[in-house]
């Protein structure tokens, strides 16, 4: 029977090619607009480390007190980054399974070959536990040890890109690189690793970034050699003393902090530890306000930091609006098309076809329109994703991909939506009175 309905539908669609093309175009454009914006939205709202994002937490401490509050958009949250004093205190207490304070650096690498210009690289000063915590993938070697942290060892983990540039991609573990005029021993080379959003340091990168992560060196080592931070610095008071040392003694925030807590009891324990810490500071007179801490897991943290750009959300909503209009449009056209065939329906019903048969016939027709619209939509989505970099900032546009799930979703959305749009017209068609139609013919 299905083959017969498909045949009937194709005949009917051929009979009014204008209307058919119009419906296919509407579905195609509507689906393509939604899917293109969805692909961008999916890319920016995705979980950068799905296998353990629920175990990664970002502690926040209110080191600013009332001075940091007030003004537009204040929701009582403590600052979203860490000052030096509190970051070091938390590192010292070492209450989580893994933890790392970190700050953004941007030193220069001087190639050993004479005559080559130095190159500017981006990276982070981190603790040894950063690597197991973020599951950073190593190509050669490993991260450094906790002992290296303590001894402020001159060791470095470099990116695959820098390894290509300086060592032609060979295993460079044990080799030496020149960072800001000082020698560092390479202990590890990462595989290509570019998590988006940059979940471990949202406050400095804003989430999505085209900056490379080329170099990681031990946190205390970077502090020792006065390697200044290259990310954001926010202050409520101007530091009492000058220079990088003055920044370290101030309440200015310029660091990110991440911990790994594997189960609910350890999360609770860490929470009460943070509260205890803040109370201690209150007793010591450093904070003159009650503890106001947060401990969000990674997905909640990304949400709180508004990592998904609002433009992306608005675009998706408007595109979905476009799809809805296209469906209303298709519903109207299907209604016209189906009711035009009242005579044919009358004959079929008079010859004994039940209503369900009419339903099946017309829904098959709607599905065929939807499927054709979906195919066109696929084509247009492909074009859309390729040209989205014209329209959106590079750091976001480059993340949009056309993959198998998106292909399938495009087709499914097109067919399901068109069949939904066809339900009312089909209902109307099934209610055609055979006697009326036969008589008027």
């Amino acid at each position: 029977m299905l083959g017969y309905y498909v045949d009937l539908a194709v005949r009917s669609l051929k009979r009014s090619p204008g209307l058919t093309v119009l419906m296919i175009l509407a579905i195609g454009f509507g689906v393509a607009a939604s899917m293109t914006t969805y692909s961008v939205f999916r890319a920016v709202s995705g979980d950068p480390i799905p296998w353990k994002s629920s175990q990664l937490f970002v502690p926040q401490i209110d080191m600013w007190g009332p001075k940091g509050h007030g003004g537009d958009g204040d929701n009582g949250d403590p600052p979203d980054a860490m000052d030096y004093t509190d970051a070091l205190a938390l590192m010292h207490d070492h209450r989580a399974k893994y933890q790392s304070a970190m700050y953004m650096i941007s030193p220069s690498l001087v190639p050993s070959q004479a005559g080559k210009h130095p190159i500017n690289v981006g990276g982070h000063a981190v603790y040894s536990e950063f690597f197991p915590m973020t599951d950073a993938p190593f190509q050669y070697g490993n991260g450094w040890t906790a002992a290296d942290d303590e001894q402020r060892a001159a060791v470095a983990v470099i990116s695959d890109k820098i390894n290509q540039k300086l060592f032609a991609g060979a295993n460079s573990v044990g080799k030496t690189i020149d960072v800001d005029g000082k020698d560092y021993r390479v202990v590890g080379v990462l595989k290509a690793w570019n998590p988006q959003p940059r979940f471990y340091d949202v406050s400095n990168t804003g989430g999505f970034t085209t900056n490379d992560e080329d170099l990681f060196i031990p946190f205390l080592r970077a502090i020792d050699v006065d390697m200044a931070n290259s990310g954001n610095t926010n202050c409520v008071d101007i530091p009492a003393q000058s220079g990088f040392k003055g920044l370290q003694q101030s309440s200015c925030i310029w660091m990110s902090y991440m911990v790994q807590l594997d189960d609910a009891p350890s999360v609770e324990a860490y929470k009460s530890y943070l509260d205890g810490y803040a109370r201690e500071q209150q007793h010591a007179g450093r904070f003159s306000w009650a503890p106001n801490n947060r401990l969000r897991n990674l997905p909640k943290w990304l949400d709180a930091e508004h990592v998904v750009p609002t433009d992306t959300e608005i675009s998706l909503l408007v595109a979905i609006g476009l799809l809805v209009v296209c469906l209303v449009n298709t519903a109207g056209l299907l209604l016209a098309k189906f009711l035009r065939r009242s005579g044919e329906i009358g004959v079929r019903r008079a010859l004994g076809a039940p209503r369900t048969a009419i339903y099946a016939q017309f829904l098959v027709e709607a599905a065929i329109v939807g499927f054709s619209g979906g195919l066109l939509g696929l084509l247009l989505t492909g074009v859309g994703i390729h040209s989205v970099s014209w329209v959106l900032p590079k750091d976001i546009a480059s993340l949009a991909r056309l993959d198998i799930p998106l292909l399938l979703l495009t087709l499914v959305v097109a067919v399901v939506a068109t069949v939904l749009a066809g339900i009312y017209p089909t209902f109307r068609a099934s209610r055609v009175q055979p006697a009326w139609q036969l008589k008027s013919n």
């Binding site: 204008g18 209307l19 119009l22 175009l25 509407a26 454009f29 509507g30 607009a33 009332p66 001075k67 007030g70 003004g71 941007s106 220069s108 210009h117 130095p118 190159i119 500017n120 800001d180 005029g181 200044a228 290259s230 202050c235 008071d237 101007i238 530091p239 000058s242 220079g243 990088f244 003055g246 920044l247 609002t310 433009d311 959300e313 608005i314 675009s315 408007v318 595109a319 609006g321 476009l322 809805v324 209009v325 296209c326 209303v328 449009n329 519903a331 109207g332 056209l333 209604l335 016209a336 098309k337 035009r340 014209w390 329209v391 959106l392 900032p393 009312y424 109307r428 008027s440 013919n441």
Partner: protein, 410 residues
């Protein structure tokens, strides 16, 4: 033209009528809000910066070695001399930020030292005695910096210079009576800084939405930044020599001292490029919304053509009867135009509610602004015209139905 018979006829096409009206309503809601977004974004693109953008470019110079403040200050002076010797170069100033850079240094400003909440927020520029002239900023009151007022400042050194030049927007915010010149203010410090000059306009360094309430509020301190990481050189060229100077500048700097990094990709940027980059996402959003508007209007228009064509086909016999009873071509044409006008009117009436609903939701969720009434009126006119335009061809075909159709079976 009588409206009553049209309404009676429409009652027999309830579903089709409702679907067209609904489509028009939704289209109006989306198009109005999208047009508003487009307008807002486009008005950003042409925001004046107050500087002579056509003849300016910026060199991002990163040091290849670690320098102390004094060393960096000396290197900067050598670089400035090298740049000034280029034939196309008019003036150069070292800076740690520039307008439209997209982020940078901003300070809370208060009128009293003990004030807890800020009076306003200002974008902070540091500049020497060449800053105003190089950027081509127009001084409208007071004076420029003297060379002996300019101090060197190293990384995170903190002092508040005793004098400052501010933008008119900031002056008006602090002293609304227009008497800001010579007055002090406080900037995250208990030491005052005195306003010695006011410039007509100087765009902030950032272009984010959070700073919209503080638009064009900027201050310049007489400071020569000597950071260990590097410096921006803002270069003003003689007319027509921008491209040439942009090519020569990095060569001259490398010839002066090799231990530096000027990215071949974005180390030298003209202000045209800086502006392009600063408003990239705004332009993109405007383009995206425009595409969606055009597709939406096209589909709605085509939908009206399709459905009206069907109705015309369905009513050929009735049209024939009317023609046989003496109705003219024009009467039939008007019938369909009026019918569409009534449907469209109902559509835009519902649409206005949807438009404000959608806007309200966008305001709530995304902190957008309220939609001005002009957009809604404009959107209504667009959709009514679209409807009339779309229905014209099928209506014309209907008017050509000959009276003899009345005698044929339906």
């Amino acid at each position: 033209m009588q409206i009553h018979p049209i309404i009676v006829a429409l009652r027999r096409h309830k579903a089709g009528t409702l679907l067209i009206a609904l489509q028009i309503a939704l289209t109006l809601a989306i198009v109005c809000n999208a047009l508003f977004i487009i307008h807002q974004r486009l008005s950003h693109l042409s925001e004046p910066s107050g500087i002579d953008e056509a003849n300016l470019f910026v060199v991002t110079n990163l040091w290849g070695e670690q320098y102390s403040t004094d060393e960096a200050a000396a290197k900067i002076q050598q670089d400035l001399a090298a740049l000034r010797q280029l034939p196309g170069v008019d003036n150069v100033t070292p800076a740690d930020s520039y307008p439209l850079r997209g982020g940078g240094w901003d300070n809370f400003i208060t009128l009293k030292p003990e004030q807890v909440s800020m009076t306003t927020d200002a974008s902070v520029y540091t500049g020497d005695e060449h800053f105003l002239r190089t950027l081509g900023v127009k001084l409208i009151a007071g004076r420029d910096f003297h060379a002996d007022e300019v101090q060197n400042m190293g990384l995170r050194q903190n002092f508040v210079p005793p004098v400052t030049i501010i933008s008119k927007a900031l002056a008006d915010k602090l002293y609304p009576n227009g008497d800001a010149l010579g007055k002090p203010f406080y900037s995250m410090s208990d030491k005052p800084t005195t306003i010695i000059g006011i410039v007509e306009r100087l765009h902030r360094a950032d272009v984010s939405t959070w700073s919209a309430p503080y638009a064009n509020e900027s201050l310049i301190w007489p400071i020569r930044m000597a950071q260990p990481w590097g410096v921006f050189y803002i270069v003003h060229t003689k007319p027509g020599q921008l491209d040439e100077a942009m090519r020569e500048a990095p060569k001259a700097l490398y010839a002066e001292n090799r231990m530096r990094m000027i990215s071949s990709k974005d180390g030298v940027r003209s202000f045209a490029q800086i502006r392009h980059l600063a408003f990239e996402s705004d332009r993109g959003m405007a383009v995206l919304m425009s595409i969606i508007c055009v597709v939406l209007l096209a589909i709605t228009g085509a939908g009206i053509v399709g459905l009206t064509s069907f109705w015309v086909g369905q009513r050929r016999r009735q049209i024939g009867v009317r023609r046989a009873l003496g109705a003219t071509h024009r009467d039939i044409l008007h019938y369909f135009l009026t019918e569409n006008f009534l449907i469209s009117l109902a559509g835009v009436a519902i649409g206005v509610l949807l438009t404000f609903g959608l806007n309200l939701w966008l305001v709530e969720r995304f902190e957008m602004q309220f939609l001005p009434l002009a957009y809604v009126l404009g959107g209504m006119v667009i959709l009514l015209l679209l409807g009339q335009g779309a229905v014209f061809a099928p209506a014309l075909r209907a008017s050509r139905v000959p009276p003899v159709e009345a005698t044929r079976p339906a």
